[in-house]
Symmetry: C2
Subunit: 306 residues, 2 copies
């Protein structure tokens, strides 16, 4: 039996698809195509079922095209326990369709509590069965270690928040410590853990979240964490372009996956697709937006060499 | 109709109970009293049902004694969707028994994603119905604002991680920025938000997590956030004593709630209670441990003046 290794699996999936696009599954009630919305928005069980159906529909379109999907737990949790049932079903469906599942939960806690999150989420043998999970570092290295330990055991991956895409992320992350921004301390931790989880692809299972909205920092952090996968949010709706992500990749086009949520799953509402597709052909809009993003990344970055 | 205000409700509940003890609901399979464990630990639905039954049993004992309970989401999430059903049931049960429910999820995200967490969890009108939620600040002020806005609308509360109880918390939190530790920047944010959510009790709805394991910082942060409730972890199992928490309180014994999880809910395994109670009388052990903690806080801190 070949043991799972998230870093290698992601490299294989990106290579096979010849693109690094991650489709973010962020269902929002007021943006769903008309056919999904009923007059029962305050019934969270109905809402959760609509989210599940919609996300399955997205996965049907993108699974043949991209290596991974990234469900955002918040939108499922917002629907209460029914939402979590929907999330589990969506994750299972994505796996059945051959997708890697990067769960965006930004979980964080200490000691055995962090370990409980890790054991629940990480690895295909876990109850949730995520291939990777995003985690938040404010509680320090001893809060990240339980996640790293379980990731090693299970072959799953982690993406630690390093430099986030939001305008206010710098409040703590950019503070200067001995002449270096705080986020470099987190990057150093990620780089160290990467050394202990290196795969045959040259990439590790402990990665970093680095926003597309800060291209200079992307370049700086690429050097600081040469063996770590980057999960890059901020593309599209948040203003990041394909060119902005160029420094996230190594010379072969590996090393980063670029997330797009709203810009793909709600493409039917974007001016450039609305007239061509509209609500009733929303899945065609998803396909077109995905293919356009792939083409942009292949044109503007080393992804073209994949 | 009187609008809810978490800061005032917590002050009223602490005053009514004459103590600031928060009982942490951290169910762990291997620590449950023997009667709860079956040979089905790998069936997460069975496990979740046992957690729910156990937590209800804890609430039955502590609801007449203390102002609030703090379910730790991680242990419920570890059981998958069934665990989240159990969590919702436990939260409902605690509210029915008159407890304030502080949900320990350490959630964090940006923009409308943070808002989704906030709308899902905050306030008795929300689907989860928590009175307060713990949140994590690494993503900066614009990631905390959506939580604060929803808390204001709903009358619910927040506890922002400022200075945590774990040994490694200092990795980021203690870094010096212009001569002050990083956690003071978070404290300043909490203090500012407290000014805009002040209640008639003099306390706000935006509080801070400050560990009992750092008594000097507790005193320093009490001055820095004079109108903010502190949620103090680290008592008991993590080494914090009643005396260590003394500086968390104002002169009237208000301003802080002290959490104890394992030390109370698994008191039947502690040497000082095991022989008196044992597994079969675990609820009596919970009562004794709660009463002993209340007595210690009343003897060693301003809580005695309540």
């Amino acid at each position: 039996m070949v043991l799972a290794h998230f870093g290698d699996e992601l490299a294989a999936a990106v290579g096979r698809c010849r693109n690094p696009v991650v489709v973010g599954l962020d269902p929002r009630w007021d943006k769903l195509p008309a056919g999904f919305r009923q007059d029962l928005a305050d019934n969270y069980t109905v809402r959760a079922e609509a989210y599940e159906k919609f996300c399955r529909g997205v996965i049907d379109v993108v699974a043949p095209l991209v290596p991974a999907v990234k469900p955002q737990v918040a939108f499922f949790e917002e629907c209460g326990p029914s939402g979590m049932v929907a999330l589990a079903n969506v994750m299972n469906y994505a796996r059945e369709k051959g997708q890697l599942v990067i769960l965006d939960g930004k979980r964080n806690d200490i000691g055995s509590t962090a370990e409980a999150y890790a054991r629940g989420y990480l690895g295909r043998g876990s109850v949730w069965g995520a291939d990777a999970l995003t985690i938040s570092p404010y509680l320090g290295a001893d809060s990240l270690e339980p996640f790293v330990e379980v990731a090693k055991e299970s072959g799953a991956g982690l993406f630690v928040l390093v430099k986030t895409s939001n305008p206010g992320g710098g409040m703590l992350q950019d503070q200067q410590i001995d002449g270096q921004p705080l986020y470099r301390m987190v990057a150093q931790y990620v780089a160290e853990q990467s050394n202990s989880t290196l795969g045959q692809s040259g990439y590790s299972s402990v990665g970093a979240v680095v926003g597309a909205t800060y291209p200079d920092q992307l370049a700086e952090l690429r050097s600081a964490m040469p063996n770590s996968w980057f999960l890059v949010p901020g593309y599209g709706s948040q203003g990041g372009t394909a060119k902005d992500t160029a420094h996230a990749f190594d010379s072969l086009g590996l090393g980063a996956v670029i997330n797009n949520s709203r810009g793909i799953i709600f493409a039917h509402q974007r001016p450039e697709y609305r007239d061509r597709f509209g609500d009733s052909n929303w899945q065609d809009a998803v396909a077109a937006a995905t293919e356009d993003m792939i083409a942009q990344l292949r044109a503007e970055t080393a992804v073209g060499k994949l």
